[in-house]
């Protein structure tokens, strides 16, 4: 039986090995494994890629969110509006800095619903954190209209959306700060934890660079308490290579989605939209259907890995009990959690793999009808 894996990091390594290993050796030979020229160069290249003035390399996407909010001006006790259908780090980065997450529901396309955001605003609201889930992008014009009206910051959770764009501007330029992950499972991925933030403000970037390094202004002076959240130079060297290849990765993933759209067009499945002025990078390719669990099991029996991201909305998590939400409060998120299924979409899938997945899904629906 054919096996179609959800992700294939070994294939990525084989493809890049010849270029990758010398870079790793170079970093080690330099003896500079924290900070240094690889970090500086990566930051410059990331800023240029996103089209933003500053990028700051950090240890993870979660840290990018926490530090991003801090340098944007979110303080303990402030409310931050965010969707309940993200990876938990969106919410836990808010609680971690002592701020209060306030959930707003999403639209059928899994992205933050501006109307729900507006309805959640209170006098304590300080920021909106749209999550560009799956590599899609939120309705930024509508969110900015609300933000301006209520004098709010926008913290882009772009952890899954490096390279995505909205009306010609890339993520990372669409908010007050942009927060990215380069976790191994992302399109733009390091070989371990890594992340970064982007900002147009020099002051914010400088503060983030201090905060990531214990608050040190120079070797001997701490101006405010910080944390340790430095991207390893080794990961920066890997990411610099992968940044040059990123557009190719995205193009291959987009080509895969085009194949799926043809293969799946007439089936009772909701497929991701891509409005004409948005550029989706397909970190995940998430379909929706009424019989999700049965479809997932049928695919697993055919050797196809398909996952649910995420089966349990954040407001249903045991950890969220203290936030005081109850079942039924976010009906779209709750309904989607029973309908969503992420199909393999990675750049190493062959045409045969895609057709195998396509026919597996078709067979499932044929056999049921």
């Amino acid at each position: 039986m054919r096996r179609v894996r959800y992700i294939d990091l070994s294939a990525q390594f084989r493809e890049e090995q010849a270029e990758l290993m010398p870079r790793i050796e170079q970093v080690l030979a330099s003896g500079v494994v924290i900070g240094g020229p690889e970090i500086d160069a990566l930051e410059t290249e990331l800023a240029a890629y996103c089209g933003v003035a500053h990028a700051v390399a950090l240890n993870s996407g979660s840290d990018a969110l926490a530090l991003g909010m801090t340098v944007a001006g979110v303080k303990p006790g402030d409310e931050v509006i965010t969707p309940p259908n993200s990876f938990v780090a969106s919410t836990s980065s808010i609680t971690r800095i002592g701020a209060v997450p306030v959930f707003a529901d999403v639209r059928d396309d899994e992205l933050l619903d501006p109307a729900a955001v507006e309805a959640s605003i209170t006098p304590r609201t300080v920021a909106i954190m749209p999550v560009h889930l799956r590599g899609a992008v939120c309705d930024m014009d509508a969110l900015w209209r609300i933000a301006r009206r209520h004098n709010l910051l926008i913290i882009e959770d772009a952890a899954q959306a490096m390279g995505t764009s909205y009306r010609g501007s890339r993520t990372g330029t669409l908010g007050t700060v942009g927060c990215f992950s380069a976790h191994p499972l992302k399109n733009f991925n390091a070989a371990g934890d890594a992340g970064f933030l982007t900002t147009g403000s020099r002051e914010a970037a400088e503060r983030a660079r201090r905060l990531r390094n214990s608050g040190l202004k120079d070797r001997d002076t701490v101006v405010e308490w910080g944390v340790i959240s430095r991207m390893d130079a080794l990961q920066a060297a890997i990411l610099r290579l992968r940044l040059r290849r990123l557009d190719g990765v995205i193009a291959r993933r987009r080509a895969n989605t085009a194949t799926y759209r043809e293969l799946l067009a007439d089936l009772p499945l909701w497929l991701p939209h891509e409005p004409p002025d948005e550029f989706h990078t397909y970190h995940n390719f998430v379909v929706q259907c009424d019989t999700r669990d049965a479809l997932q099991s049928a695919l697993a029996e055919s050797g196809i890995e398909a996952f649910v991201h995420y089966a349990r909305p954040i407001h249903w998590q045991p950890a969220a009990k203290e936030l005081g939400y109850r079942e039924g409060q976010f009906p779209v998120t709750e309904r989607l959690s029973r309908r969503i299924l992420s199909l393999p979409i990675h750049q190493f899938l062959s045409a045969e793999d895609l057709h195998y997945v396509g026919s597996g899904i078709r067979r499932f629906f044929t056999e049921r009808s």
Binding site: R14, I24, A29, A89, P184, A191, D193, L216, V222, I228
Partner: protein, 376 residues
């Protein structure tokens, strides 16, 4: 002659064996909390004789997570040493807790005689810092903590493999935290750390806290952090850790040489050495008369000395809010004025060690120093 402080390029110069392991890892794609992390964790736990080892993103994160697991939260007081590296204070502050400082003694560790004076009803934990690879007086600190019912979280970031009466640093308190930073004793290719504990509940809480509070793929039981030791770094750590005993032996030999050659020198004072402590000499410090000029003299002669740390942490601008005034911690102040760090790493040759001694001797023999600078 040059006597460099840094040795990373040297250390990984013959790196084919480790590259082979890195290649094996990259082929598996097991980058996050995978087998290499578990293997390093159990290797370390077995060596230290402790039940749980939990790999985290850095020593600083390790302290923060261990304190959080011990129940420290906003408004609580955490007692630690006035001469520590700033990250200890940063970790306490990051939890919204308040650092309360105690002066050190000439072991560079918290002075147990002064510990009881600062305990209040708000004290939630004690964080002794095993600075420089030396060890704090753990039997006394544990006794005081026990009498007050307080948990001890050891900041052993600089003291992996250090021991007192045969018991390793990090294995005395409720939890101990090590750093694997590139300048530490067991060093990796970036940031990383490990927390150790014998307490099962603390151990499982820490495994949750480091990984977003995820009990399984879909269940978040506590809102946590992302602070994991990278698999790749665990591969490096395990590789370096195999040579730990040899590093301890070599650094001690180098330190002994400096101690012997410099102890009689007018202008230099060697910190007291204690026979029941195995020091790992992550850094080798001496007290020096007219330190600043000696530092310049050493640097000018190719000996890459450092100062850890010229500004005591309690005088940092970021700590002003606590209201400690200059002079409050006289030993920490004296150290900041007189301490100098010599290169001591395991890649130094006998010639380099002898040259370092010679450079220092010459400085005092020339009378280039200000003899009125105090040493005590």
């Amino acid at each position: 002659m040059k006597v460099p402080y840094a040795y990373l390029a040297h250390q990984f110069a013959d790196s084919e064996r480790i590259f082979q392991r890195v290649r094996e890892l990259t082929e598996t794609g097991d980058y996050t909390l995978g087998r290499p992390v578990q293997e390093f964790e159990s290797m370390l736990a077995v060596r230290l004789g402790i039940v749980h080892a939990i790999g985290v993103g850095s020593g600083t994160d390790g302290l923060k997570l261990a304190l959080k697991a011990a129940g420290v939260g906003p408004g609580d007081e955490v007692v630690t040493a006035a001469n520590t590296f700033i990250a200890t204070i940063g970790a306490i502050n990051d939890l919204g807790a308040r650092p309360v400082l105690v002066d050190c003694d000439d072991s560079f560790c918290l002075d147990p005689d002064k510990l009881e004076d600062v305990l209040t009803s708000r004290t939630k934990a004690i964080v002794p810092v095993h600075l420089t690879g030396n060890m704090a007086d753990m039997p006394r600190i544990m006794a005081i903590a026990g009498a007050h019912g307080l948990p001890v979280i050891e900041d052993a970031c600089q003291a992996l493999m250090s021991s007192l009466d045969g018991r390793f640093a990090g294995c005395w308190g409720l939890a101990g935290v090590f750093s694997l930073h590139p300048l530490k004793f067991i060093n990796i290719w970036g940031d990383g750390g490990v927390i150790v504990t014998n307490d099962g509940r603390i151990g499982s809480d820490l495994r949750l806290l480091r990984n977003h509070g995820l009990a399984d793929r879909d269940t978040v039981v506590t809102l946590g952090y992302n602070s994991r030791l990278d698999s790749l770094q665990a591969v490096v750590a395990a590789h370096v850790f195999q040579t730990a005993d040899e590093i301890v032996r070599q650094r001690n030999q180098n330190a002994k040489f400096y101690d012997t050659e410099l102890s009689g020198l007018d202008g230099i004072r060697v910190p007291p050495r204690r026979s029941h402590v195995t020091h790992t000499f992550v850094t080798y410090q001496l007290f020096a008369r007219d330190r600043q000029r000696l530092l310049e003299h050493c640097l000018a002669n190719g000996v890459d000395c450092k100062v850890h740390y010229p500004v005591p942490v309690y005088l940092q601008p970021a700590l002003r809010c606590l209201g400690y005034e200059a002079g409050r911690f006289p030993v920490a102040d004296r150290h900041a004025r007189t301490v100098i760090t010599l290169p001591v790493h395991e890649y130094l040759t006998e010639e380099q060690l002898a040259y370092t001694v010679e450079v220092i001797r010459r400085f005092y023999a020339q009378g280039a120093h200000d003899a009125s600078c105090p040493l005590h």
